[in-house]
Amino acid sequence: MAKITIDKDKCKGCLLCINFCPKKLILKNSQLNKQGLNYVEFKENGGCIGCSFCAIICPDCCITVYK
């Protein structure tokens, strides 16, 4: 099973990854990071297919994809 990790301190919460994830496995978080912005988190064990769409569209390069 594939998975992603998100560098929460670089995330700016633009939510583009959430919009482009075909499995809807990325969720908005209500907590704030170092930049004072809401970051996103990954839902583990939800059937990630490792398509990398989230990482390709991420403007802040905070997603690493493992497959």
Binding site: A2, K3, D9, K10, K12, G13, C14, L15, L16, N19, F20, Q35, L37, G50, S52, F53, A55, I56, I57, C58, P59, D60, C61, I63, T64, V65, Y66, K67
Partner: protein, 242 residues
């Protein structure tokens, strides 16, 4: 489990100053991925523009220079002529390349300098507060065209890529977009081709990238991506121009 997508070596691992959803971050990553893939990090020299990307050299881990507003291609010409063994590229927005720097852009292209130009077109002046740019679409509201751009008063959107493509010294012009992951991959392919052309001494290559500016388009990042697809890509058709 194998790492299939991670941070490029040439991109510094620090948060950028760009707004959430800005296309500069995606383009910075594409350029650094290509530089890593072509293994030219030690040879590349970037010219940063004036605009939102003015401190791009803080994010790129290779040699960079800064140019006066619009003069990136003049500086790049000098560097490439003095150091032809280096790979020189400019990274410019529409205010830099198509407004104040139109003269330098057209003449560098007409001389056929062996350079790579990355042209970020977001149809607005981002750094100075969302004023009308030459590439602003008809009817688009900006802080200097509050009722929308009118052809009668402000003219038509400037299609600099099509203008440059008619010059015989220009070898490669392609317009790409960042509005979904598939288009981002096409943009990467085009940028890689533009760098490869310089390595192969083919000549002047320009890639125009339609990039979102959610802040001054007054949209959320997803709406901005959709607006590129629905409005900008109609005015600025995607694909290879030359």
């Amino acid at each position: 489990m194998k790492k299939v997508f991670s941070h490029p070596r040439s991109l510094r691992n620090i948060p950028t100053h760009y707004c959430p959803g800005c296309g500069h971050g995606i383009t910075h990553r594409l350029i650094t991925e290509i530089i890593d893939e072509l293994n030219i990090r030690e040879r590349v020299i970037a010219i940063a523009p004036v605009g939102c990307a003015v401190i791009a050299y803080d994010y790129w881990d290779f040699d960079c220079s800064e140019a006066a507003h619009g003069r990136a291609l003049a500086v790049a010409t000098a560097i490439k002529r003095v150091r032809p063994e280096n790979i020189v590229f400019t990274y410019q927005g529409d205010g830099d390349l198509a407004a104040i720097g139109t003269n330098e852009t057209i003449h560098a292209a007409n001389r056929g300098e062996n350079l790579t130009v990355i042209f970020i077109n977001n149809a607005i002046y981002g750094m100075t507060g969302g004023q009308m740019a030459p590439t602003t679409l008809l009817g688009q509201r900006t802080s200097t065209t509050p009722n929308g751009r009118e052809a009668k008063f402000q003219g038509y959107p400037l299609k600099i890529s099509e203008m440059l493509a008619v010059l015989p010294a220009v070898k490669y012009v392609e317009r790409v977009s960042l509005h979904n992951p598939q288009e981002v991959l096409k943009a990467k392919k085009a940028i890689k081709q533009a760098f490869q052309n310089q390595i192969d001494n083919i000549g002047f290559s320009l890639v125009e990238i339609l990039s979102p500016c959610p802040t001054y388009w007054e949209m959320n990042p997803k709406q901005a991506m959709d607006w590129i697809r629905d409005a900008m890509a109609k005015e600025f058709p995607l694909g290879k121009i030359k």
